[in-house]
Symmetry: C2
């Protein structure tokens, strides 16, 4: 079904049908007959033709490092809800943590396949920053802070600081840290800085891990090899903490008594493992929703002013921490 066929059936011109669809001038007589024909035929305008003509695709490109992650899928749920409400579609680009794929999608998207881009970022290389800045559709960065670009991110520094203070208040004065690469500014550098501000530790209390459970497990093993007198442990993510606890349990080290553990994320898992994790809760779905709202504002109102929104957190005190 094309607009021409509808026009033909209704005995009017294509322009009239188009006006009917877009609230232009149209007489009641024609409005009625066009409406009837469209109902009968179930006609839906070709969105590609509309896009070509109007330059608006009503699609938002969403670039994610991976989809099968608790936090990211919650962010996407938040994004998708707001987009749905506003009749936008979600074009999902899953990069499987490959930076070159991120650059590739940025390039594809900036060239006008989508009306705007939401980029859930992890590691921002110079190439990334360049690509982001040269993006000629609205873009918002989610989960990382960057200057001169709209960003929505979490208070990683503050969360790490507060969690570390909580450990200290519980008498934990020798605290180990298992973190991720500083290249990831949010989950790496910021969290480490927050930790260090609260607790002056020496380098051999710090271990690096990837984002996996096994990574947390192995890093904990290395940490305790170097350093067997810690009584507190800060993990940059819940998953790392769960790996850490797995190792500690195997070594018959009691959590929270011998070593209290905190982490960031408030994943579903954090409340289900034993002991339940003391974590900082982030507002994943909300931050996704906020990003979507902002990007739609940017599209609609030509409201290109840059926002920098730092989301807060909530410390959830559970059984993985105890007083010494």
């Amino acid at each position: 079904m094309t607009i021409a066929e509808i026009a033909e059936k209704a005995g009017v011109s294509k322009s009239a049908v188009s006006r009917y669809l877009n609230n232009g001038y149209i007489s009641d007589k024609k409005r009625e007959i066009i409406q009837k024909v469209i109902e009968e035929t179930g006609y839906i305008p070709s969105s590609q033709a509309q896009t070509l003509r109007t330059g608006k695709s009503h699609m938002i490109g969403v670039i994610v490092p991976r989809i099968d992650s608790d936090s990211i899928s919650r962010i996407i749920a938040g994004i998708s809800e707001v987009l749905e409400e506003n009749k936008y579609r979600l074009l999902l680009a899953n990069t499987q943590n490959r930076p070159e794929k991120e650059l590739e999608y940025l390039d594809v998207f900036k060239n006008g396949n989508v009306d705007a881009v939401i980029f859930i970022a992890t590691i921002l290389t110079n190439a990334h920053k360049k690509a982001i800045k040269s993006c000629n559709v609205p873009i918002v960065l989610l989960g990382q802070q960057m200057n001169d670009i709209s960003c929505i991110y979490n208070d990683d520094f503050g969360a790490a600081y507060e969690l570390t203070k909580l450990l200290l208040e519980n008498g934990r004065d020798k605290i180990g840290y298992i973190g991720v690469t500083n290249k990831d500014k949010a989950a790496g550098a910021e969290r480490l800085a927050g930790f260090k501000k609260a607790h002056n530790t020496n380098a051999d209390c710090i271990e690096l891990s990837d984002f996996s459970l096994d990574g947390g497990y192995n890093a904990t093993k290395r940490l305790l090899n170097k350093n067997n007198d810690i009584n507190g442990l800060f993990c940059a993510t819940d998953t790392i903490a769960i790996g850490a606890i797995k190792f500690l349990k195997e070594q018959n080290i009691s959590v929270p008594n011998q070593i209290s553990v905190v982490s960031i994320g408030d994943s579903k898992l954090s409340q289900l493992i034993s002991p339940r994790l003391t974590t900082a809760k982030y507002y994943y779905a909300d931050s996704g929703g906020q990003a979507a709202k902002h990007i739609i504002d940017m599209i609609n109102k030509e409201n290109k002013h840059i926002i920098q929104t730092k989301f807060g957190f909530e410390i959830c005190v559970r059984e993985s921490v105890s007083k010494i």
Copy 2:
């Protein structure tokens, strides 16, 4: 940048540039100069114009009941990987479990916005079946079986049967069942049927729940109220089982000794809670990948023959089950 500008800069016709892009006849001389101009300008063809002209959008619509779910996000990861390899894009439609949204998206998609549809289905009403059958782009159903349509689904009956037999072999002869609505043929009816084939139980050993942890918790409470002598418990999903175990723990009922628990799903959580769950492992990512491959075959080869693929499962025996 448009093809006309490239043609102008290169001193050739639009047709020549198009032929260069689509491996048509083109002399080496022109090929070189066009290549140079395209490299310099970073030109990327407008995909909406291509779509309009060729009728191929290279987009696959994926309809999901929700995105922030362990199993579904793994399915999507599998889909996305295969689509990515084949240069297809993923247009995500998240229906938040609202059937009317599923119908709406089916209607939008069938009308030619995408080249094909992958539908992760839960409850198939008659309206759904009608919409699916009248879909005039290739469609594959994921997670549910339906006649006359390509489907990829799991052996829910077999998995439930084997898990129940496992309970029986461990001396569990009074087994409760916590399931979901029969309207969900796969997770509801099929699993219950598999259970019943292995174990002849009476109606008051069966409770219904939704898919949530709290649902499992409450259903277990109701079940034990009616029926306090069960020694085995079958839960239709891991999440339900985790809720059930939460309740049992609170009542100081030992799992697995007093009541052994099995469930279906092999979620990440199932290995992390204590006791670790005995579950049937499904091949989520693989089934997603398979669906994507099949749908691409259908598009490319006009290979519209219907497939019905039933994926197997693997029973993972863990500590939530013990001999009586």
